[in-house]
Symmetry: T
Subunit: 145 residues, 12 copies
């Protein structure tokens, strides 16, 4: 049975509460339920984690070393966490980076992604649907990074 | 009936022939057939265009002013065509930018996307599947930019 | 009899339709009629051209090699077309660069004009009146670049 | 009854011990006592937290979502933690950023504050008195960010 | 009756004397007479001021708070005076920035205009005719900034 | 008896009139009265000055060479006046820099303060209360820079 | 029989007419005749093309996919056309970049060549002789890129 | 008896598993055993810690405030953690920074070390032997920072 | 009889009082007396001026339009006053720029001199003797800029 | 009889030995023999020099002050030796800069040539044939720089 | 028998005399004796060279083409000598770069090492002990670069 | 008896021959004779040296370790030789940097002086008189750096 990690970074526990004009009204639990449900339907074990702690996110990535895929929204760590970048580089599981809003249409610092070079790909600005698209991509994927 | 434009920019006519290690062995016609087929199944008229000419791409974007969606791989114009950026900004149709390879894992100049800020979102590095994901996103979309 | 070229660049065919808050509600044909009318009154042959194609704009500039003046809104090409810059540098006709909106009050990349150094001067932010002012300036001009 | 959070970031637990020429001889507990005392006198509940962990600071900020004010010395996170910046942006409580030393008179990297744009204001270089001034400002404040 | 301020910045009192190859042989008084004459013909009170003092230029701008228009050549202050920029932003009168020479064809620092974003528009490189064009623009203007 | 200088820079004479959304509706005279009143109550002679002239501000700083404190809002000079920076460095009186609005939440150039390194500290974004806080800080201060 | 493409970019149709101090008095047809003649003598089919259109230049490069060599003066596209760079990268034929004038002795932007990294080599500043040298180099070449 | 802290940062728990071409096949426990063994032989108490959490690394540094030496591989935090830099600056123990691979021969961002200025020195690119060299250096050291 | 202007910029009226470690203990009047005395001995009329006002310095430069030489210490205006630069460029008199301290051995911004390109030369870091050397240089000079 | 200098800079004595994948297997003596032979055939005296010493290269350039041509591969000095640049500028002989490999396809610092602006032209990336092409160019040259 | 080169760059002949606070009181001969002694004890022939001449250092590196190791302190050439970088890249012997002082704790330009990417590793800031550590590292080394 | 070193860097042996419009028609020997003559008259032993070799210049500086003064025109080494900068920093003799032409009025790279921070001062743009002024300054100097 395939195993996916759904991993969300800092401030995503505030979804639905924080700046809803940018991030929408869905809560994190809605996303986790949606992806877990997709998992059940498609025979994939989905483990859901969120943390505001950079170190915990790294621990979760290490823990999913040989998973079949990781759907990861690194939040603001996208823009400066070289430690998370290294963690992505160091595991076997393919990672798809997801951003709910179009980060390229916002402040300048949002344009930089230090994690993207080590991911398989990115889905940006498509709302929570981005998580769903990442799920289906990893499902079809032959597990190569 | 919905109408989508599938638009591919410079050098994408060379797909399958050009640097297959980066871009894969699929030809452009394969992608166009795939999306056209999805259109038939889902009741969407899909118009397919490719050009190496910046001006023609702008003309095609203008011609799809009020389409229900545009799937657009701007190729290298991504990195410097402010004219295409303006064309995207000036039409009503929502645009999803697609890149086959992970541009963030290649040369430095590939990191810059001048078109991204005016698109709805981007799907990057997921191979030709990116086109398919863009199709489904626009299908579900309520047509808002 | 004097000959002027009125030349408009990419996306200006969308005037009146595209982002009217920034560019106003006048259409391109209104501007062309206005300048043609001024031409008739003042004994100047006015040739009107628009293109979204960088190469065509260069061809039009070459074609007006020894005109008495060129009123040119290069649109977004202002910000990166060194080929158009060279075309302006290579002809005898004096060129006045016109921008409808105040490009300096918008995004950062709009501040750069690579064409301006080779033009006679620029009129920026004064709406479509800018075209009229350029007409009168060239009319009084002794044809020197 | 009003509630304030007094939040101190990395290395501020070393106050009095670390580089006293720059940061003075007061310990963190002295500052916490001072502000708590001001709280008692003025009828404000003051909660005091310190952490060297970025994630914990974010958790504390989330926990004070609807407090009447936050006095926050982010320490070195000031200069790179976009995750803390997002946390400040995502809560309702107004935040005043405090720095004990004049960061603008020290190394270059100290000049950059990535958190400042999302705070209500900053008090810099006035020693531990800066905390007191922040307290009084928030006390008079009508709670608007 | 409409009121315009014709305002000239540092070193423009030297016109006709200073670097005539760049700035021409007209003196400042010739420009002031020309615009004053246009004022008489068109029923506009024209007040003419020149100063080499940044502070005086700010005072003059404040003094023309609700004028119907300001024709302003800020000279070298264009390139660094954020105080003048703020003064332009803080008054109601629309300001048109005029430069006699094509500043974009000269030294690099001349390309930067810190005042332009707060003006209505700019006329650059058209010699003293630029002042005349600014006059007619403001005359037709409905007084909006 | 202690002596303080309350010094305000360019465009602050327009307070209440200029961009009230950013700077509030208080006039400069209100601030001067407030600080003068605090002076009377606390036995401090308060001298109030404002100027749009960089040179006058320098003269005022020199004139307060051995005052017990200076509350200084340098306005836009903050961002480029190295001459004022030198004046602050060259006198004995401690200077506290005050900004009414949060300059870090506005345009990019507002982030740079060339004067800050030579001041004792800065209070930013706390409205006119910032002046009051500066007053109390200098009152408690032992006069050291 | 070997096949070479002689390809000239924007404004090179103006050779002999445009800025002769920089580019000399030879016309494009002179260069084309010279290289065609060399072709005849050496048993090489030489196809000559010029265009001011970026897209056409890309089409020509694609059309010469498996030629034995391409002599290419990209004109101003040298400095920004990543689309042409990609076209060069995507074909099998070796490309030698030629510039008539010493671009390194002119404006700053001329120093950047975005196409050079994908070419076999460059010949710069040696006048129209550069085309001849490129011809002989490709003639001796074993066709490797 | 002397006390040393052997401190390893993010992803170093993956040694031997992660990118062995760059980091070798030794595991972290091998390094810890090697240094502990050197400690026993030389009469030094060696405490070994590893964490992926920036905050924990700071806590460990504080906990070793007056140790005789710290051997520290900050991993990717080297490149952006000003908080760790401050922690190093704030303790008495001398710190030697160790990197297994030659960070200067890899990506650009690896060239920057924000922690190095506060350390006693760095040993870079010498494999796990670097830890051993650091040990001997601190052993001979008179404990000065 | 030759005429020289000795011109000193902002904060130089504080000489002997301001940061004597950097600027020495001589007062401005000592310098003015020294140069005036040299003038008497050598038959040169020396006019001495100092101002903290940029505009006044420009006025003084204009007033010395055809003097035989100007000895000018622009103080901090050196680093940003393009208006003074233009004033120097616009007059006939040769200007020698003098700095008492070695500005290249101090803060980074001191390295930039925007006025230097328009002066005849600079004498830097030689204390008040620099004024004397400038005097003798201008005395021998044939008055060419 | 014409005289040419063939001058090779640092590390070119290692040709054939150093990184043969980049520089090929020819030795320096092969190049010197080739060019000397061409000299004999064409009646040109060819003097061959190589040095790893910047100063010696300058001496050689001075010594060839009025030669008919210089073929110069400055090696790594290309990227930083302003002294060599000055030497080239100061002599009468025309210099052609030759690089064996395509420096634009390698590390970033290789893109900068500080010597190129003062040379007649450059031949880059064409292997040792570049020396031969330079020879023929200088042979045809009328000796103008 | 193994052979090592101990190579010291510019100004290291002044050790003990030059800025002893930074570089200590040991003379170069002390270092050379120390390493030679280590050589004798460990059966390694140690050749000691120092030069202030970049070209000589390159010659020495070439001369040690197939040595078993090179201990190299390039002094200030570290920061700009691409010629030395190329020399290191072109030889077979592994090079360890040594700096006596912590260059990262000094001026900005000291942070850049252009030679480091081609060395095996660096030992920085550990005083003359750094030479000793380099010796032992090369001794254990299997001679691979 | 005092001892001065007159030291001239690369290409200054070409004075009078090289670009006389910039550097004048005097030869180096004229300058050396002039300063030697001044030495004789004023009882100073003057040693004259010139070299195009960076290393030799460093050797000469070391050789003048305790001279009473050094007059040094580093030529183009001014702009990049950190090794010469270190040599100046490491000796006791005060150094005055002299440039014949106004380097600030020429190419951009000429604006940077890496040697200036370690010199006593600089005399720039005053022709060969600059050497004379440096001589008199050192003569009066009390020998402090």
């Amino acid at each position: 049975m395939k195993r996916f990690l759904l991993l969300n970074g800092p401030n995503l526990n505030m979804l639905g509460k924080r700046e809803p004009k940018i991030y929408g009204t869905n809560r994190l639990v809605d996303i986790e339920n949606m992806i877990s449900h997709l998992g059940k339907v498609n025979g994939v074990e989905v483990i859901c984690k969120q943390s505001n702690h950079e170190g915990e996110l790294i621990d979760f990535l290490h823990g999913a070393y040989d998973f079949d895929g990781i759907i990861f929204n690194p939040g603001a760590f996208t823009h400066y966490s070289y430690a998370i970048r290294d963690a992505i580089a160091g595991i076997q599981a393919p990672v798809i980076e997801v951003h709910i809003s179009n980060i390229h249409a916002r402040e300048d610092f949002r344009h930089v992604s230090v994690t993207a070079p080590e991911t398989k790909g990115q889905i940006i600005g498509l709302g929570i649907k981005g998580y769903e698209l990442a799920f289906y991509t990893l499902l079809d994927d032959k597990g190569e990074k």
